[in-house]
């Protein structure tokens, strides 16, 4: 029971991170029907940019650890959002009317470009996050000691997801995004600037992905230029698990996948951890292709 609860909290913390990345996939897919293979690399950029800021600005010592990390994450989100919007402008917008697979190859090209750019700038070896950022203490809950770090990470991803949900459901821009996801042509006729909507999607998704990158750096302590694609693939699995194009689905799918993976690693086999996620993916697609919460967007693939 103790092990179970321990793994549950671990799974939820990692799942929150998956969910944040999954949101970027699901929003882009919802509006553009494009699998943004470079999204995982935007996440890596977030992790590395966070490391640079941590080492160079010393924010945590100037304005306190909590405020420092919040400012840091916001800065990372801003930068990664800009790169995301630039990516859309350069690599995806010219291909919007092209065959679907050319956009996929463009996305793969962008992924290769980002990965090698990070490698050239930061080197190929693992880089280490400072380990004294967050308190290493634990709290006791139901007889299980849970690291504070996990609670902070899980809380932070919940806050960001709630913020996004509010934005998409309640604001004018959010409504425009949802309209464009249902039918771009009709949205255009209703006076929605679809290019602008797509730009917002490519600002928000990467921003959340960048934040997730910093969170992974803080949680695991180690980052590497290739880490983006494993996380990207997991997050995409999460998006499909919940129902691609569906924002609450991506949140649920991320948390669920994190827990499934943690449990699989504990009770089945650590070596097969990644394979378990992909088997879940395949089973979901075979038996319920629209995901757990169903696809909000009509499937016109």
């Amino acid at each position: 029971m103790q092990l179970f609860l321990e793994q549950l909290t671990n799974g939820l913390a990692v799942g929150g991170i998956y969910a944040l990345i999954a949101l970027g996939y699901t929003m882009v897919y919802g509006v553009l029907k494009l699998i943004n293979f470079a999204h995982g690399d935007l996440f890596t950029i977030g992790a590395f940019f966070g490391l640079t800021l941590l080492l160079s600005l010393g924010l945590t010592s100037h304005i306190g650890p909590v405020a420092g990390i919040i400012v840091l994450v916001l800065m990372v989100m801003g930068l990664v959002a800009l790169i995301g919007a630039l990516l859309e402008r350069v690599a995806y917008r010219p291909l919007r009317t092209s065959p679907r697979l050319s956009a996929v190859v463009s996305a793969l090209g962008a992924s290769i470009f980002f990965q090698n750019a990070i490698m050239l700038i930061y080197g190929a070896r693992f880089r280490v996050y400072p380990h004294d950022l967050l308190p290493t203490t634990t709290v006791s809950l139901l007889g299980v000691s849970i690291p504070v770090m996990r609670i902070v990470l899980f809380g932070a991803s919940l806050v960001m997801m709630a913020g996004l949900y509010y934005f998409v459901q309640r604001t004018k821009t959010g409504t425009a995004i949802r309209a464009a996801a249902i039918d771009q042509g009709a949205a255009k006729l209703m006076g929605i600037d679809v290019n602008r909507v797509i730009m917002y999607v490519f600002l928000i998704g990467p921003a959340l992905g960048g934040a997730a990158g910093v969170m992974v750096g803080m949680y695991y302590g180690q980052i590497n230029f290739t880490m983006g694609w494993v996380y990207g693939l997991k997050a995409f699995t999460a998006a499909i698990l919940g129902g691609i194009g569906n924002i609450p689905g991506a949140m649920l799918g991320g948390l669920l996948l994190g827990v499934i993976e943690a449990m699989g690693a504990t009770y089945i086999s650590l070596a097969w951890k990644d394979a378990i996620s992909f088997m879940v993916l395949i089973l979901i697609l075979i038996f319920r292709p629209t995901g757990l919460l169903g696809e909000r967007v009509a499937d016109k693939v």
């Binding site: 679907r100 463009s106 693939l233 088997m279």
Partner: protein, 319 residues
Amino acid sequence: MKPATIINVLVVAALLVAPYWLNAYWVDVLNSIGIYAVLALSLNVILGYAGLFHMGHAAFFAVGTYTTAILNTQFGIPVLWLMPLSGLTAGFFALLVARPIIHLRGDYLLIVTIGIVEIVRIALVNNVFGITGGSNGIFGINRPELFGYVIRTPHDFYYLIFGFAAITVLLFLRLENSRFGRALNYIREDDVAAEGSGIDAAHYKLVAFILGAFWAGMAGTIFAAKMTIVSPQSFTFWESVVMFTIVILGGSGNIRGVLLGAFLIVGLPEVFREFAGARMLVFGAAMILMMIFRPKGILPAQPRTYNLDFLAGSRGGGK
């Protein structure tokens, strides 16, 4: 002679004499290009002809390669004898995995096939059934022998690989114009309409998958023989991406385009090897630019046209 025929003759002549001019290193690069060309041609049956978004071809390649490696090192069966068997194993594997997913559309299929290639790689790393040698792989694969001649040097392999590639090209050219090939094209353009006119789309898609996998499995035999060591690192998702990119960037559905794609995608990074890390950066950017300027690939497939004028006569005048 048509210009296209002249180009064909020149390319074939250049390929025949190339090894006499090049050192072992560059012949080896050509050999890699040849193997990727065969793999991409086999993927083209699934992706280009049938229009199935398949990004997990490395999984079938891996099954074929490991079949050869295991049977050769365990039972000493001569490598080239294992070619049909490796093809069949890969084809059977394709039947098993493709059967339940063949009905998935577009991107869903793309994602599932990525999942499959990852599961296969993890299975190989974890030494599944205790026969794959884990992350070290399998070494000590015998040199292939052809009529008592041991194929050893890159120059020897060149003729084996390009001979196989030539057979592949000739067979797939025939396939393109066969009843089967035309049915696949019809399914690619509109599978609902194809079903409507009596084509069993699911069946044809499955056969395309198995045929592509069979051919990738045979390529695996040659790969195993050339490397003499096989390990899971050769069958990552990125290998699938390379094959996928060759087909789409060269010109999906067009054999000439796929061959050109193999030369560009596998060959160019070798040419710029001295620029180390930056070359892959440029490579990624080039992929984006190529897609922007030639979204259907460098040599897009020519739409098939039929001359139906003869029908007009029988109806007394036509339009």
